[in-house]
Amino acid sequence: MEELKRSEQLNVKDNVNTKVKLKDQDAFLKINHLVVEYTSEGEVIHAVNDVSLSLRRGKTLGLVGETGAGKTTIAKAVMRILPERSSRIPGGEIEFNGRDILSLSEKQMQKIRGEQVSMIFQDPMTALDPVKTMGQQIAEVVRLHNDVSKKEAAVRAEEMLELVGIPASRAGEYPHQFSGGMKQRVVIAIALACRPKLLLADEPTTALDVTIQAQVLRMINDLKRKLNTSMILITHDLGVVAQNCDDVSVIYAGEIVESGTKEDIFDHPSHPYTIGLFDALPKLDSGASRLKPIVGLPPNPTDLPTGCRFHPRCPLATEACGQGKVPMKELTSGHFCRCNKRKE
């Protein structure tokens, strides 16, 4: 009897192991327990606290959160472009395509950056060089990562421009001659010029008007499909997530509070913060005369609350929520939530 029970247990354990392994293989980018801190005027800013994420090949992961939640810091950590002096990564791993990003040398990293992993920043104006033509800026990336002549690079640059819907004849023009939407398309052309395997898009459409946003997102998705690129889409706009992502992670005060497929998050939001975000949104299809804001303010990252970081603002919080680290719980397969109030 005892024997049987044990073998059953073993079996169960084996199953769990294989499941985990399968998931590992699926994951193309894996971030494990990442911690990032900044120091400023002697204070330690806890920007990212024990974040784990995984991105499946060819898929889009939406990273949702408010200002200061640590979204951009995570992306910069993956690119290894955090400010050297004021930031440090005391813990965690970033595994990209089987390689440990954090242990690579700067030289090795330069090979990866732009060629295998690219980033699109929010503001196209600061991402472009005002004194170089658009064609030169795209060709520069191409030449950096490929052994091609100047001429070939220029041809590639023109192809990329056409790909993002800008006539190649405009390759000789400067950033100030382009509209905001076109500039962002050029930034995307630069990011995709070397056909990266992973694209980190940090609020790529926040500075754009809705009609242009729709164009740009459609274009990113088309290119992504063509080049089989995986993407992390950082945004605060739940509408953009709903229409463009496969999986979603919600981040609050440097911690992932809920993650799952898009269906998990939009059909069954479970963390009180996620629910609060949905409730605070003015909706197009409701006649509600009042909005339901989340009470209070996001915490100061130099002085985070103990226990659940959200408990001071949470309508469900009890005294126990302020104590001890709250673990992630799996509510249904693949849908995780960091809240004591939610049953597994």
Binding site: V210, A214, D237, A280, D285, L291, P293, L297
Partner: protein, 317 residues
Amino acid sequence: MSALLETQNLKKYFKTSRGLLHAVDDVTFTIQKGKTMGIVGESGCGKSTLGRTLIHLLESTGGRIRFEGRDITSVSRRELKKLREEMQIIFQDPFSSLNPRYTVEKAIQEALRLTGRYSPSQIPKETDRLMELVGIDQRLRTSYPHELDGGRRQRVVIARALAPNPKFIVCDEPVSALDVSIQAQVLNLLQDLQENMGLTYLFITHDLSVVKHISDDICVMYLGQMVETSPSDELFTMPLHPYTKALLSAIPTIDIHTPMENIPLEGELTSPVDPQPGCRFAARCKYVCEACGKPQQLEELRPGHFVSCCRAKELNM
């Protein structure tokens, strides 16, 4: 109901080195007392210029503005000073509209002093009243703008705007720089103030869900022209202008089960510098016809629902 503010064929042109830039061209609407008129449109469509022209931060090039039945299109300096007390404006970025070296208290006191209505001994009490009205905690009295979050900064700006006890406030993207949870707090505050004080708003934004939530009527602008104006709900259920339709279809909804039916907009923007007569959306419109090259008339196709498109009737009715 009575009209607080009316415009008729309001125009604002800017002289540029390339020619005359038509930032606002023939805008005609009426805002009822105690109501909110939302102005939507994409960057560069003239929303902010319109707001500024209404309250004389910019002088209009043509057309009429009436406020409480009075023609205020051109006013003397003295009249303007009086008018400014009744018409206020809140800008998008509270950081740049507050003096970084003034504390919360000092910023509000300054606004109160400028009204000339309060004696020095009354000002502290009035400051308390305004701070309570907009929900700023007393302990923040001596804080500087950089010590406040965006939502609180915007509350200080609102308190300053309320100091002269205005009737009309132009809200120029007041919540665009705020996170959703904070944005909801500020929108609720603006609604409370409207209910309690009978304020009238012109609410300028590019965020269509925000504008639907807060407005009674909405006016859609495209490159300086007003293309459609309608009661808020009706605009979303029954848009009549091809541009409004494309604009509404581009909003990413949070409904993951109905795919978006996006009407893509092809082609580039027409230049608002010395534009051709006629509809400025024509170059991107799939229903374009010869008549689009002539000046368009604003037509009331349904009660209170005006559209400026020669084919709107035939396409929608």
